[in-house]
């Protein structure tokens, strides 16, 4: 009995190792063949998603259907098709041509960095708090039942 259990355990261990290997292989295949945007239209969409529509509220150029956004989309399409600039260069160009703060992802400089730093800080604090809580719990001695606790249980057990 003990021996078969151990053998089963070993078999499972091999199974887990095999599983890990398969996962790594599959992920590698998937990551290696990822070449980003497949067509210039997809790349233009990716850029458009990062730019705010200048006249509407909180929509990206990609989402918005108004004329201003359509003009910006056309400008992006043109630059992307020309294929000489990187995404960031295209965005700076759009910002200079259409004016204003149009980038939808806050930059990681100045006060805008707060919006990135605070969630990271919150994660660290939350994990630390969780770890501390578990430590406090495991450090606490188990309370022994008092006489009145035992009476309570006894009374409850007698209750039909």
């Amino acid at each position: 009995m003990e021996r078969t259990r151990r053998a089963a355990g070993r078999g499972r261990l091999i199974g887990w190792a095999l599983l890990g290997a398969v996962v790594v292989a599959l992920l590698t295949v998937g990551i290696v063949r990822d070449r980003g945007a497949e067509s210039s239209q997809d790349r233009a969409d990716d850029v458009a998603r990062r730019i705010a529509c200048p006249v509407c509220d909180g929509e990206s150029v990609f989402e918005s259907r108004n004329n201003a956004s359509e003009a910006i989309r056309a400008a992006i399409d043109e630059r992307v098709t020309a294929g000489r600039q990187s995404d960031d260069q295209i965005i700076s160009y759009i910002e200079s041509r259409f004016g204003g703060q149009l980038l939808l992802v806050p930059r990681a400089t100045g006060i805008d960095a707060v919006v990135w730093a605070v969630p990271a800080g919150a994660l660290v604090v939350a994990l630390a708090a969780l770890a501390l809580t578990f430590r406090r719990w495991s450090a606490q001695p188990r309370a022994a039942p008092t006489e009145s606790d035992r009476d309570l249980v006894a009374a409850a057990m007698d209750d039909p």
Binding site: L27, G30, G58, E59, E63, N66, P106, P119, A122, Q140
Partner: protein, 690 residues
Amino acid sequence: MLAASLNGTIGRAGLLLVLAATVSGALSTAYAIRKGDARMSSQSRWYALLALLGAVVAVAMMQRALITRDFELAYVQQVGSDSTPRIYNIAAMWSALEGSILLWLIVLALLVGAVAWRYRARAGDPLVAWAMIVLLVVTAFFALLSFGPADPFAAGVPGRDFGRGPNPLLQNHILVLFHPPILYLGYVGITVPFAFAIAALVTGRVGEGWLAETRRWALLSWAFLTLGILLGGWWSYEVLGWSGVWAWDPVENASLLPWLTGTAYIHSVMVQERRGMLRVWNLSLLIATFALTILGTFLTRSGVLSSVHAFAAGSVGGYLLAFFGVIVVVSLGLIAWRGDRLRAPGLIDSPVSREGAFLANNVMFALFAFVVLLGTVFPLIVEALQDRQTIVGAPYFDRLSMPIGLVLLFLMAVAPALPWRKASGEVLGQRLYWPAWCGVGALAVAVAVGASGWAPLLAFGLGGFAAGAAGRQLVLATRRQGWRGLVGRTNGGMIVHLGIIIIAVALAASNSYTRSATLTLDVGTPASALGHTFELERIVETQDERARVVKAEVLLDGDRVYRPASTKYLQFGQDIGTPSVRTGVTKDVYLTLEPGSGVRGGDRDAVIRVFVKPLILWLWIGGGIVAFGTLLAAFPSSRRRRPTDPASAPVPVGRSEERVAAERAAGERPDTSRVGTDSDDVPAEELTGV
């Protein structure tokens, strides 16, 4: 002030009735509790019914005013028009601020009425009486909003006898009839567990009794919130024309925030029910959930944040902010006051346990909510500090929510296999083995059909893993109990998990693998793109008194004609594109006619934008599964083990809601004829690790 019309007069009388009934109901119930007069405090239900009556009258009058086009009311001048079709005229009630508050009021009044009726036999119980007071006070607040700053029955410009009708986006899809009321049922439903939480704090009965009372209310409002959010995504997909379901718009975020804290709550509450722990945390989550619904409403209805839902901005900001402040101060004060009773009796033995997983889940959901809140209000912070405009858009939220979502999927996979108290490596290795292979299978299928990129692949793999874990639990439960294994909290919950996993996978796929193309089509010349052929057959134009509609008839894959349209609503002068979608099991083909391109009927060419989006259909299927699972989890919950029975004992059939009363009245013996086992329990053969 004289009201504008008969509709206005009676409607305002209805609102006044709500206000009077709720205020006097709250006062008299409080007085009755003070005097210890159970008979008097049980009268709270009559006040609740009066308030409901008032709200029904107000809504009926608003609908009548809209139907009869009573342009003497300012609200009808704003959202009514002679040309609005009948169903959108009904929905016009919630297409602007005042009517939305009225919708909130009627939903709240219905819920308060339902609570009053449900607990009519126990209205003398201080816990129930205090909950009624809280509910009546919240209703009074919304009646006050409706009566004062957001008056739907205010008199309009005299002599004006026309209106523009609802915003064009709110009069071209049937979902506007369902999305807001269902979302509000979820939003407003949170008030009931919140009221019981406050009542528990006030009465000092902070044990597990109030949790049992409100479990179903919390679950059902969570389900309505989930469905409401999904229906909103569906509406966005079918109407807005950018082929997306979620834009991280402030109003969307305002509905997601309570969903996140509410989801954390319905998980962590199980730790308290089972182990008596996390009392303060659960109360805080519930209070946060309710407070966030008010804060979200403030952020989006006061005009401080702008969004595509801006049609509903107005002057209620100050009131909502003040109410939010009162909720936070009162709740925190009560928690501090009851601090001594809230100390948990139990301990968590090991982080690697069911309760440990619930805690990790809670941390992730709380972090998620924090990130969404931060991103939503960050423009306000920057504006206050530096006086400049910033926009925090979808890319920010996408980037941060993706890792959080992956961790949550991982927890979803591991947690159902973890036993309470403590897990050994051996047990975990055995229980997670087949679920993990399910994950590998999902990953392999994804790679085989050409998926790429680490984030979506991880999402598919972890989704498969989590689905395997949920499936394992369901298989074990049905093997033991037959179809009954599908009902109850744990197993219904696993079905909800399956629905959520389907939604997560569909979101990962549609966000990562949407392809698009812009085609200039000439009539009669087929063009191919993205693996499909498109042929423009003709462009037709129709016009009525409401709108001019230009439709492009496009033959897709030589098979069926789709008609993306561009509509100009004459009262608004705005072009609204209406997409046409071929829905499929694996992918949708989404066609839009670019509005504003000036295309007219009879033209020989048109610019068509095409999106090919995978797995969109599964978002809605997943939503249906979530709803079904919640029903299974919520209803057959009455069979509860008595706390003094050993875990292996058969579970008696009792009426859980009356459990407290039954235990007090010790004469009633539970019926043990129907024998079943708690689905949380581990069958013996698993413990031995065979």
